[in-house]
């Protein structure tokens, strides 16, 4: 199905949009407050999504750590979401990853802190975490 809207058309010219419009429409309509979308709005949203993918990739690559290794990694993207204001809306779906060992260490440190505080104020735990 995806083949239909992919790539170049018969004349060899670049198509206007390469993302499948039907899929873009399904995503748009999944938003409950939207009642109808005209074809131009659909085409523009699809085109905008392509531009967005290009921009997110190039921005993350340029600001990322993998330039010498010629690589784009997840953490480059997570950094972009965290640091760039424009891409802030992605922060929830591109969370920064940390190592399990680091996380365990954080937990341990927290526990030790809690224990140290235990003697003085025992119900402060919630506020501190």
């Amino acid at each position: 199905m995806a083949d239909v809207a992919v790539g170049k058309d018969k004349c060899g010219e670049q198509r206007l949009v390469s993302l499948p419009l039907s899929r873009i429409r399904v995503i748009m309509k999944s938003s409950p407050e939207v009642s109808s979308i005209n074809q131009e709005a659909l085409v523009l949203t699809a085109k905008a999504t392509e531009l967005f993918v290009q921009y997110l990739a190039t921005y993350s690559y340029r600001h990322g750590s993998g330039k010498e290794r010629k690589a784009l990694t997840y953490s480059d993207l997570a950094n972009t979401a965290e640091e760039s204001e424009t891409f802030q809306f992605l922060a929830d779906i591109l969370p920064k990853k940390i190592l399990a060992s680091k996380y365990l260490k954080m937990l341990k440190e927290k526990r030790e802190d809690d224990e140290a505080n235990d003697g003085e104020e025992s119900d402060d735990d919630e506020a501190e975490s």
Binding site: A5, V6, R25, A41, L44, L51
Partner: protein, 147 residues
């Protein structure tokens, strides 16, 4: 319409191709990075739709149109997309106009029963997928587009 969660994903092959075309040759894109960008793209569509819908509501319109999407880009701080989007819109309108003329030509040709029918038909098959939607959407377009 979206019955399964996968229905909200964009095709990986297309996303990968767009990323590859945007980056310098030979850059390796991890699988995780690809799926992250793909998810980000779906969220972008939802975010843009919601912003555009706000503009439509402000204008007391029920149908999202091109200007709503452009306003949404501005609001989302993706002003850099506006010029290329306007160009794409122009190209799209030219294409539609061409199609309309072609189909009018076809009608005339049909009446005359000329040989060019065959050619037109093969072009039609190419656009089959869009055609259904176009018909369904035609009403809206006629009301809102020509201004």
């Amino acid at each position: 319409m979206a019955e399964r969660p996968e229905d909200l994903n964009l095709p990986n092959a297309v996303i990968t191709r767009i990323i590859k075309e945007a980056l310098p040759d030979g850059v390796n894109i991890s699988k995780e990075a690809r799926s992250a960008i793909s998810r980000a793209a779906s969220v972008f569509v939802l975010y843009a739709t919601s912003c555009a819908n706000n503009f439509a509501m402000k204008g007391k319109r029920k149908t999202l149109n091109a200007s709503d999407v452009l306003s949404a880009m501005e609001e989302m701080e993706f002003q850099r997309f506006i010029t290329p989007l306007k160009e794409a819109l122009e190209a799209y309108r030219r294409e539609q106009k061409g199609k309309k003329e072609a189909s009018e030509q076809k009608k005339r040709d049909k009446d005359k029963k000329t040989d060019s029918e065959e050619q037109d038909r093969s072009r039609d098959e190419d656009n089959d997928e869009d055609e259904e939607k176009l018909e369904e959407e035609e009403q809206n377009e006629e009301e809102e587009v020509d201004n």
